[in-house]
């Protein structure tokens, strides 16, 4: 067991509660549902779990048009129709036209795989219900070939959701759940450290201060998230901006350099500039 525990990786900081949720899911072989603000590393979690445990990863990205059936298999009726027109021999075996989906691939895996079902809330409201039996029993039936497909090894299933739709209770009951909350300053410092190991201490501190200050601005439509912070630091490094310049932002009457990486919405940028301007007028230095 000891070697089969997930504790975060060299490039991913997992908090204790997240580690516990993942380990529970791995041990009991139940899916884990991960929610959280965009940019807090939900999708990354599956990738890192696969890497840490040394399992192959199968990714299934969900769109608004995705059907549950597509994850299992699809019957390519058009190809068969075409082949029948051309008199191809393959047409007699319907199995030739069954296209495997991501779930099937994961079920057939030689070793225990990690299956990522990304952004499950994008799909139709019935989507999770259609996968209940598959996720529970880890098997499904192919009607065209009358074959029952059972998982060789129950995959570790990581499901992410952005909360666009409510998920059905029956589905939720079968999962472990974790909500990734926005990291506090300490955790954030660890996260940045993992990504930029040789970042100067004072630059990191100044950058984090400036970042949380921007996040605290009220009325922002889209608050900057972890991934935006990482991008911003990357830019700061590339431009070789000294920490002193960030401290300008500390005194609240300067705009942090390269803030375009943090604010992605022109209304937000506008609001921010206005606030800074106002501040400069009321508290001149």
């Amino acid at each position: 067991m000891a070697d089969n525990r997930f504790t975060g990786t060299s490039s991913y900081i997992a908090t204790d509660d997240l580690t516990m949720a993942v380990n529970a899911a791995v041990t009991l072989e139940r899916p884990i549902l991960v929610k959280g603000e965009p940019g807090t590393g939900k999708t990354q979690l599956a990738i890192e779990v696969a890497r840490a445990l040394g399992h192959p990863l199968h990714e299934w990205h969900i769109k608004s048009t995705t059907k549950a059936q597509q994850g299992l298999y699809e019957y390519d009726a058009v190809a068969r129709l075409r082949d029948s027109q051309l008199g191809d021999d393959r047409v007699h075996d319907i199995g030739n036209y069954i296209v495997r989906g991501k779930v099937w691939e994961a079920f057939e895996s030689e070793e225990q795989p990690v299956l990522l079902i990304d952004e499950i809330d994008k799909a139709d409201i019935e989507f999770p219900n259609d996968l209940l039996r598959e996720l529970d029993r880890m098997e499904f039936y192919v009607y065209e070939t009358k074959k029952l497909i059972t998982a060789r090894h129950r995959p570790i299933i990581v499901i992410t959701s952005n909360n666009e739709k409510e998920l059905p209770d029956a589905f939720l009951r079968r999962c472990f759940f974790h909500y990734i909350k926005f990291p506090d300053k300490d955790t954030m410092a660890q996260i940045v450290n993992v990504h930029f190991p040789d970042l100067k201490k004072n630059l990191l501190r100044e950058a984090l201060d400036a970042f949380y200050k921007v996040r605290d601005v009220r009325g922002l439509k889209k608050k900057p998230s972890t991934s935006e912070l990482l991008d911003w630091i990357k830019l700061l490094l590339a431009e070789d901006i000294p920490p002193e310049k960030l401290r300008g932002a500390e005194s609240r009457n300067a705009i942090p350099p390269l803030y375009g990486a943090l604010l992605k919405n022109e209304q937000d940028v506008h609001l921010f500039e206005q606030l800074v301007f106002l501040d400069r007028r009321t508290n001149p230095q």
Binding site: D16, A21, A24, A25, L28, R173, R174, F176, Y179
Partner: protein, 391 residues
């Protein structure tokens, strides 16, 4: 084992099921929670809570159960007559005042003080800052603001805080029993989505293809259809200025948050009521106006028209020419709004004022008549009804 805890969760309004309890027990059997209380807490949370809106509630129940204070709390609660706590008045405090009462000592001190005060107090109390009752700033009671207070018999959490402070309560602002947040508005507005096929035919219509091919004596006849897109178009008119400013920010936030959900979202501002001009940029409202007639001509009648306004004004502003507070209007506002309503049969008025106050303002009654009673409060339930009316 854990059965009382399980029932406490259910009594606390969580929809925890037996399956989930069994999962937790199974996980414990597998030695997952062996190391510390924290581990057990994380494990229990991951297996029993399935909605971040319930995380805060879970934290509270967990704290109550596992720190052995549930008895003292329950007893205290029973001793307080319900009517004391019934919602009677509302109180809004400035940031300054809130800060002043922010620190009141820890939970232990609070519970002790509560007990003492219960002994002293013997009648119903409202407002004020000491006694137990409603709408005050005392740490005990409901519908008031004291972030470290103990909440009693309050519907939903008012300022999203006033309860106990055992735990860090990190998930407090995710609780969905509170009024309107951008998040639940987004979910509500999504119901407006309507899918329609429009644009280039780039998807295979399998049924039609098979049908046509069969009719074609087996010769392949491929049929295509356009992809399904969300086809909802929304025209939003926001009242701006004065009492509406607070609300407008929320409304703007919510509609721009849901912007991606609509095919078209156009917004205009008005002040108090609709007249011959609307505008898009409030700072240049006198310079850049859009004639209301142009709007009615430009945007087709398939747009859904949503007014957001508190509908509170002098009735003259609606029914008389020249009634506008800002300019001389040749025709009364009622005529202008009727013109818009004729163009856009699907329309609603969202009113951020609480519904029970509507009857006291004649202008609200007037507008409701004009709108054929399609006025809804700006709450989740109201939004739901509004969206039903728009369909």
């Amino acid at each position: 084992m854990l059965i009382p805890f399980f029932y406490m969760l259910r009594e606390g309004g969580m929809k925890t099921s037996i399956t989930e309890l069994l999962t937790l027990l199974e996980a414990m059997k597998n030695g997952l929670a062996g190391q510390s209380v924290d581990d057990f807490y994380y494990l229990a949370r991951a297996s029993l809570v399935k909605d971040e809106a319930h995380l805060d509630r879970f934290d509270r129940i967990f704290g109550a159960y596992f720190k052995g204070v549930e008895d003292s709390l329950a007893d205290l609660m029973q001793d307080i007559p319900e009517e004391w706590l019934r919602h009677q008045a509302e109180l809004s405090l400035s940031e300054e005042e809130r800060r002043q009462i922010d620190a009141m000592g820890g939970f232990e001190a609070l519970m002790k003080a509560l007990q003492e005060r219960l002994d002293e107090q013997d009648e119903r109390h409202e407002g004020g800052n000491r006694w137990i009752g409603t709408a005050g700033t005392s740490p005990f009671g409901a519908y008031g603001y004291n972030p470290e207070g103990v909440r009693m018999g309050q519907k939903g959490s008012r300022n999203r805080s006033a309860v106990k402070v055992w735990d860090k309560r990190d998930y407090r602002n995710l609780d969905d029993s509170v009024e309107l947040g951008t998040r639940n508005i987004k979910v509500a507005l999504r119901r407006l989505r309507k899918f329609a096929r429009e644009g280039a035919a780039d998807q295979l219509d399998l049924d039609d293809t098979i049908d046509k091919t069969a009719r074609n004596a087996g010769l392949l006849d491929i049929r295509m259809v356009p992809e399904r897109h969300n086809a909802v178009k929304v025209l939003l008119c926001l009242d701006i200025g004065g009492s509406m400013d607070d609300h407008v920010r929320i409304c703007e936030e919510m509609f721009s948050a849901a912007r991606s959900e609509f095919k078209h979202l156009e917004y205009f501002y008005f002040h108090n009521f609709i007249y011959e001009n609307l505008w898009k940029d409030n700072r240049r409202r006198h310079a850049e106006k859009t004639p209301t007639l142009d709007i009615a001509h430009k945007y087709g009648s398939d747009y859904k028209l949503i007014f957001v306004g508190d509908a509170t004004m002098s009735p003259y502003e609606i029914v008389y020419a020249g009634g506008s507070v800002e300019h001389w209007n040749e025709e009364p506002g009622a005529i202008w709004i009727k013109r818009l309503l004729n163009t856009y049969p699907k329309s609603v008025w969202l009113n951020p004022e609480p519904k029970q106050r509507w009857d006291y303002t004649p202008s609200t009654k007037l507008i409701r008549e004009i709108m054929d009673e399609r006025m809804y409060p700006l709450t989740i339930a109201g939004l739901d009804d509004a969206i039903k009316a728009l369909h």
